[in-house]
């Protein structure tokens, strides 16, 4: 018993010291959430006609780093979605997510999906360049190009992996799943079956 104790105590001390050391490590590039950064807002329009894209799904995904010996594993922490109004505007509060976020939670990643359009952040016409923080504050206008060809639309779907966003996408991002499935069927692909049908 004593021998185990002799081992366990130093290890526990090391763990504590290590955690403190990591906690004090510089966290570069404003990678992590330092405060509540929301609400996230913007407007989605057709890149050609400039018409608002009502019903566009705006998804925010927060990942977090979990520190393991020799490694940091990035895992999903939370996901939220909202749908653009008839003027193509969306607003996502997410205060609850960000204010309760554990340490090393990344600033969110965003996805905007409209059936028949190239999605954000891969295929949008605008904004381009550095996209960090574009939906913070006053937000931004996102111009999505209409995809005409079936192959182009299929390619767009290739970039969306619902189970990478959430282990339970039908529960967490139902609007996105509904539209992804609509688009899948429209371009001749199988839809994602709900869990009970998998």
């Amino acid at each position: 018993m004593m021998r185990w104790l002799r081992l366990a105590l130093p290890c526990l001390c090391l763990l504590a010291v290590c955690s403190m050391a990591l906690a004090q490590s510089p966290e570069g590039w404003d990678r992590y959430l330092d405060k509540y950064r929301g609400p996230y807002r913007g407007e989605v329009i057709d890149a050609e006609t400039k018409a608002p894209l009502a019903g566009a799904v705006f998804v925010a995904l927060w990942r977090r780093d979990r520190v393991y010996p020799f490694h940091i594993v990035t895992e999903n922490y939370a996901v939220r979605e909202t749908v653009a109004d008839p003027e193509g505007r969306f607003l996502l509060e997410a205060r609850d997510v960000e204010e309760r976020a554990p340490r090393r939670t990344h600033r969110p990643e965003f996805l905007i999906f409209v059936p028949g359009y190239g999605s954000f952040p891969r295929f949008q016409r605008l904004p381009t360049g550095f996209l960090g923080g574009v939906f913070e504050g006053a937000g931004t206008t996102v111009e999505l190009p209409r995809h005409q060809g079936r192959e182009e639309r299929r390619k767009n779907l290739d970039s969306i992996h619902p189970y990478s966003i959430s282990d339970t996408p039908f529960k967490d991002i139902p609007q996105l799943m509904r539209r992804v499935n609509e688009e899948s069927i429209a371009v001749g692909l199988s839809s994602y079956p709900p869990p009970e049908n998998r």
Binding site: L7, C11, F70, H71, G132, Y192, P193, P195
Partner: protein, 699 residues
């Protein structure tokens, strides 16, 4: 003692941590390499999955499974095994800090990873399951997991394009991988550029990596994608050749955060000969700091392998070092890797991660086989670039989508590239029959090139053939030059068509249990064989040909009665000729000598209003002559149907003849002049109804 060892291990482990490419980065690289690989083509062209990587199995698309694999490979504690130091004395020593984890190469081929295990061999087994498991659900599961496994395999390749993973550097926090991830998320167009282009030429491995000597610790050739054992620590130029492992290229040309200019480090774990100070020259660059542009001095890689990019920043103490000739090892001037350096690195490493990942996927799906011929004599050919030595087997799906091996269709063969075998016999499965007769999956398992246990699948069509032989029922003589067709009873489509040869035989491809035989022209009317010597006019009455109908030579002999119509004729008493012949408007003349200069002359004229054949079973009428525009009479058999063949000797309808005739008989001299009064001069006009009987005839 063991407790102290564990304690030491904790000391080693706890204060440090490293990250590979971030999970989203892995996903993007994997998605891109999957898209570029032949995987989609193989799924479409070889396995009949028309949506390729977009095929859904188990609730996700195969591309999702692939990216999921690359994501999950970083699960605790698998990541400990994602390092490979190409300069280690032995691959067993090439893992993180020598022994904390296995070398990524060994890990990728370790069948004892845990449960489940995702080694190359395990993934091969999953693929074999995907091709051969009986139930659709199990096959789908196998296919999904195959792609998850491949995602895990390419993750290991991608980590070899991360300097820390090749330089034994468990660094944490601000590092290369973070920068790449940040760019991936916030500057997608920049990241897209990294994915699609490499400033290095060629950037993709030479295909010779497949044939390098294998290492007994990790015999599958994919090990050579990470470490070709060509860079030995003193020959960095070799890393610019296309035949090089990715870890070798990365190790020799890039720094990781805690392995910068460590060519003289006393710690052998940290000592890497290249890049070294002689590999770089110093140069100033404008860099953006906030809104200001400032000059920053960098080491630019100018030799010893890859060149033309920022290798590290020059440390702040650099000037003092030079001025006072300080000992590098005692007074570190602390060069560092900043964002600009990382961007230069990523522009070279990310595209290689993509091309090497693509190469691995292509390698997995490299096997190519085809099958040809028919079930009487079939064969298959190795169309790949490597020899195949193993088992070739055919499988088929029954109506319930249960996949079954074809009995007797397993062959052990060794085929050089391009080589084929032929003349193999195949018994088309009938119990249960195939869902899609003629469609098989040819599955190879065995050695292919240097890989001991490769798996290849190819959907093939192997037509089944039969030889219908048509003979006359009356005398057994063959029908030569007649058309016979095999008709799919499900779709009504013509499966094949053939002409009978001198022996009455035609060669047709067919689908056992789904084929009827159609004989369009032996009789006046088209007919389907209905079994024995019976026939039907519609496919619904046709015999569905079974294997049991065939003799050992795959021949089915069909005896066909050739039929014609018969009906009674009335003889006119005076001329002794038919009163109303089945003939169009016309005449009959006959002059027979009956004595010296004396002839018996007969002249008959026929006039037809209408002759009609009326079937007895359905009252269907067929005008035979006398109708508008008709010039000749048609045989009443033209109104027959195939079922009439089964009614030889029976009355099947009647002829209704509305006719006139004029019968004249006279003795004449040699010049045709009448002698005396006519013997008879009779005119007839009436509607006559006579029965029509089916008769068998010789032709």
């Amino acid at each position: 003692m063991i407790y102290y060892a564990i304690l030491v291990a904790c000391l080693l482990v706890l204060p440090v941590a490293a990250i590979a490419y971030e999970i989203p980065t892995h996903e993007r690289i994997t998605e891109t390499s999957g898209d570029r690989s032949v995987a989609g083509q193989v799924l479409t062209g070889s396995l009949g999955l028309s949506d390729g990587l977009r095929t859904s199995v188990g609730g996700q698309r195969l591309l999702d499974w692939l990216t999921q694999g690359s994501r999950r490979e970083d699960d605790p504690v698998r990541f400990l095994n994602h390092f490979h130091n190409p300069l280690a004395s032995d691959w067993s020593q090439a893992g993180l800090l020598t022994s904390v984890g296995q070398s990524s190469i060994l890990w990728g081929q370790n069948v004892s990873q845990g449960f489940p295990s995702w080694s190359w061999r395990d993934v091969r087994q999953l693929y074999f399951d995907a091709l051969t498991r009986p139930t659709r659900a199990d096959r789908d599961r196998g296919l999904g997991r195959t792609f998850e496994g491949l995602g895990r395999q390419v993750h290991l390749i991608q980590d070899a394009a991360s300097p820390a993973h090749t330089r034994n550097d468990p660094h944490v926090l601000y590092n290369y991988e973070w920068l790449v991830d940040e760019v991936q998320r916030r500057e997608p167009s920049t990241f897209e550029g990294w994915l699609t282009g490499s400033p290095d030429v060629p950037g993709a491995p030479d295909s010779g990596w497949r044939s390098l000597d294998s290492n007994s610790l990790a015999p599958v050739a994919t090990a050579r994608l990470i470490d070709a054992d060509r860079y030995q620590g003193g020959n960095p130029l070799v890393t610019m050749e296309p035949l090089i492992g990715l870890a070798e290229y990365t190790n020799a040309n890039f720094f990781s955060e805690d392995r910068i200019f460590t060519e003289n480090d006393t710690n052998v774990q940290k000592r890497f000969p290249y890049p070294n100070r002689a590999s770089a020259t110093e140069q100033d660059f404008d860099v953006q700091v906030g809104t200001a542009t400032v000059k920053r001095r960098y080491f630019v890689k100018t030799g010893d392998g890859a060149t033309g990019y920022r290798l590290a920043t020059v440390g702040l103490l650099r000037d003092y070092h030079q001025r006072f000739n300080l000992d590098w090892t005692r007074f570190r001037e602390s060069p560092a890797l900043d964002e600009a350096v990382y961007r230069d690195y990523a522009a070279r490493l990310v595209p290689r991660a993509v091309t090497y990942s693509t190469t691995l996927l292509d390698y997995f799906f490299r096997g190519q086989v085809i099958a040809f011929g028919n079930d009487v004599s079939m064969g298959f050919q190795n169309l790949g670039e490597e020899a195949m030595d193993g088992t070739f087997a055919l499988y088929y799906d029954d109506a319930s989508e249960v996949r079954r091996p074809v009995l007797g269709a397993t062959w052990a063969r060794a085929l050089a590239p391009g080589e084929f075998v032929e003349g193999l016999q195949l018994s088309a499965p009938t119990s249960p029959p195939a869902q899609d007769p003629g469609k098989y999956l040819l599955v190879f398992r065995g050695a292919m090139g240097s890989e001991a246990d490769a798996v290849v699948g190819k959907q093939v069509m192997i037509e089944s053939v039969i030889f219908p032989r048509l003979i006359k029922r009356k005398d057994g003589t063959p029908f030569r030059g007649y058309v016979v067709q095999a008709i799919d009873v499900g779709s009504g489509q013509v499966l094949s068509s053939g002409l009978t040869d001198d022996d009455g035989k035609a060669r047709l491809s067919w689908k056992p249990g789904r084929t009827a035989l159609f004989i369009p022209s032996v009789n006046f009317f088209p007919m389907f064989w209905a079994g024995g010597a019976t026939f039907s006019s519609g496919i619904e009455g046709a015999r569905v040909v079974q294997v049991s109908d065939l003799d050992p030579q795959r021949q089915v002999t069909i005896a066909i009665p050739v039929i014609s119509a018969e009906w009674p004729e009335r003889i006119e008493a005076c001329t002794e000729r038919p009163l109303f012949a089945h003939a169009p408007n016309g005449f009959f003349r006959q002059s027979v000598p009956v004595g010296d200069g004396l002839f018996d002359f007969i002249s008959i004229t026929y006039g037809v209003n209408l002759i009609t054949f009326i079937r007895g079973d359905n009252g269907q009428e067929l005008p035979l002559c006398g109708g508008e525009g008709s010039t000749a009479c048609v045989d009443p058999a033209a109104g027959f149907v195939a079922e009439d063949v089964n009614r030889v000797g029976q009355i099947v309808g009647q002829l209704v003849r509305d006719m006139r005739s004029n019968h004249y008989r006279q003795l004449t001299d040699t010049d045709g002049r009448p002698i005396g009064q006519p013997i008879c001069l009779n005119e007839y006009e009436e509607v006559e109804v006579v029965p029509v009987t089916v008769a068998e005839r010789l032709i």
